[in-house]
Amino acid sequence: MLQDSLLNIKTAQEFLYQTYSPKMLGVCYRYAKNRMDAEDMLQEGFIKVFAQLHQYRQEGSLEGWIRRVMVHTCINNLKKNKRFNDCVDISNAAYLHSHEDFIPSIIQAKQIVECIRSMPVGYKTVLNLYAIEGYSHKEIAMMLEIEEGTSRSQYARAKGMLENLLIKKGIISSPIKQKAIGESNLG
């Protein structure tokens, strides 16, 4: 599939797209304001994937490589649209609550994702990059063109906000701490 995609064979490229696009749209959805924006990011991301596919050196999985391209595309898209300006001061975080009407699904993963999406852009971006994608604060600072200390403090606030949201939603019963063997964090 990889070789044929590099040769611009349409069926191979379409197969690669069909294989990875559902998960990658899930990735983009965590960064985007809405589904339409997420699909825009996905489209832009896959165009870059196919354009840069020759740079994939087969070190690590193809999915991981595509995911990194997708995350960078999302970040660039947010920076381009200046979406980082609406960060919320921690003193106001208590008044930020989730809106019941835009979280329609009962599926837990989607509820968690919706909780992440309900946070301000700056918080959720840092949270996505650190907690889920596994970037360090130093790398995040470089990507977002902020100070490393800012990344750490944003993450701490985002984590606290998300825990409150998850508790309100009943997804977890208490803030996630060091857990004993066999103990569950889920509500």
Partner: protein, 423 residues
């Protein structure tokens, strides 16, 4: 990329979101592919139709030989004619004068000389005739004016002194007699199209599934499952149209027709169970619901259901004559059809295509269909023309409201049979 050391919170989020997926809209891949290969787009059907119309209009404009009047004859006569009262018959006409002389290069196929030998009578009160006397023709040839003869249009004028028509030229076009083909002016047409119909189905949104007891229905995207349960069925279209010629080879048409569309489905049904269907809108709990489960131990029965619709359409379009002679002609055409759904039973399927229900509020009343066709026509002795040929009809908008997870576009392919008669 350096990896941070995940704590429990990070681990929890990673695990929770690891398999989170969303299905992209179907058009997204086309956008990506067209962006990567910008030169490979093929023109859409409306663009192709527009190009065909432009080509034919240019052909009409560049053709210097036109006729706008029916029954225009070029007559070579060896006697003087009273143009108001004369009735020209075979005996009056030197029908093969020009061919014998062979000095004049005229398009002979449309000349009334040939028509005239069938004893056609010309009524000068209602029909236009361009009449030359043989002397006039001879004079022109003698004066080496064969090109004038060929290229000078003639207007019939009355000369009161001797009733001999004189030649008056005003431009460089030769008015040749009208073709005896029947595609001049206006016509009406009746037709019926028995066909086989089916549908294209596309997924719109992510499925949001739940049963009232909190259990979840499985997501099933397998098109094979869909095709196993659904089948094509016979359809019918019948209607009438008015046609108007806009050029020698093209005519436009407008009319009204009735459309009956259906395709078959069969599904397990268990009336005791209940299920939600789809999307962002819940089905009214009073709606008749059927449920299919994968549990074969339940009391299940197969129901054959025909997904039917009755429509009234207003087809508007064009037809082009591709080739032909007086009796046989080959046409191709296309129409766009605003349509109104006035009846039927539209069954809706849930995500795994095993459960069905009806919700008329989610069915679109107004729609747009398009059709392309080609047919052969044969002219009967009484002047009527019978037509027969294949037609493909396709629905452009979904049968259902946007809130339903599936888009459905019906299509059918059949043989169109019709009768056309000029006014």
């Amino acid at each position: 990329m350096e990896h941070n050391s995940p704590g429990h919170f990070e681990q929890f989020l990673k695990e929770a979101t690891a398999d989170f997926k969303l299905r992209p809209s179907l058009k997204l891949w086309n956008s990506i592919y067209n962006n990567m290969h910008p030169g490979r787009k093929s023109p859409s059907l409306p663009t192709i139709l527009l190009m065909l119309v432009l080509i034919l209009f240019m052909e009409k404009k560049s053709n210097p030989i036109t006729t706008t009047t029916k029954n225009t004859f070029l007559v070579i006569s060896n006697i003087s004619i009273d143009t108001k009262t004369a009735t020209l018959t075979k005996q009056n006409v030197v029908s093969d004068f020009l061919s014998k002389e062979k000095k004049v290069d005229l398009p002979t196929r449309d000349l009334a000389l040939k028509t005239f030998v069938d004893d056609t009578q010309i009524n000068f009160e209602t029909e236009k005739a361009i009449v030359w006397t043989s002397e006039q023709v001879a004079t022109s040839i003698a004066n080496n004016q064969a090109n004038v003869l060929a290229n000078t249009p003639l207007r019939l004028t009355n000369s009161k002194s001797n009733n001999i028509p004189t030649i008056a030229s005003t431009s460089n076009q030769l008015a040749i007699p009208a073709s005896s083909k029947s595609n001049a002016g206006y016509a009406y047409q009746f037709y019926a199209t028995p066909s086989v119909g089916y549908r294209n189905t596309f997924r719109n949104t992510d499925p949001l599934l739940a049963l009232s007891n909190g259990a979840q229905l499985p997501v099933n995207d397998d098109e094979h499952v869909i095709s196993t349960f659904h089948s094509s069925s016979w359809n019918l279209e019948a209607g009438g149209a008015f046609l108007m010629s806009v050029s020698k080879y093209m005519r436009i048409k407008a009319g009204m027709q009735f459309n009956f569309s259906q395709y078959g489905s069969n599904t397990n049904s268990n009336p005791d169970a209940e299920t939600l269907i789809t999307g962002t809108k819940s089905v009214n709990s009073n709606t008749a619901l059927f449920n299919a489960t994968n549990n074969e131990s339940t009391n299940q029965k197969m129901s054959d259901i025909n997904n039917r619709s009755y429509q009234i359409s207003l087809p508007i379009g064009t037809e082009f004559e591709l080739t032909g002679n007086e009796d046989f002609q080959w046409f191709a055409g296309a129409t766009i059809q605003p349509s109104y759904l006035f009846g039927g039973n539209k069954i809706m399927f849930n995500n795994d295509m095993n459960n069905i229900a009806e919700d008329p509020s989610m069915v679109r009343k107004w729609n747009i269909n398009t059709s392309i066709e080609t047919y052969l026509s044969y002219k009967l002795k009484n002047g009527a023309v019978i037509n027969a040929g294949p037609q493909l009809r396709y629905q452009l908008l979904s049968t259902y409201d946007k809130s339903y997870i599936y888009s459905e576009k019906l299509y059918n392919f059949g043989i169109k049979l019709g009768v056309t008669k000029n006014f």
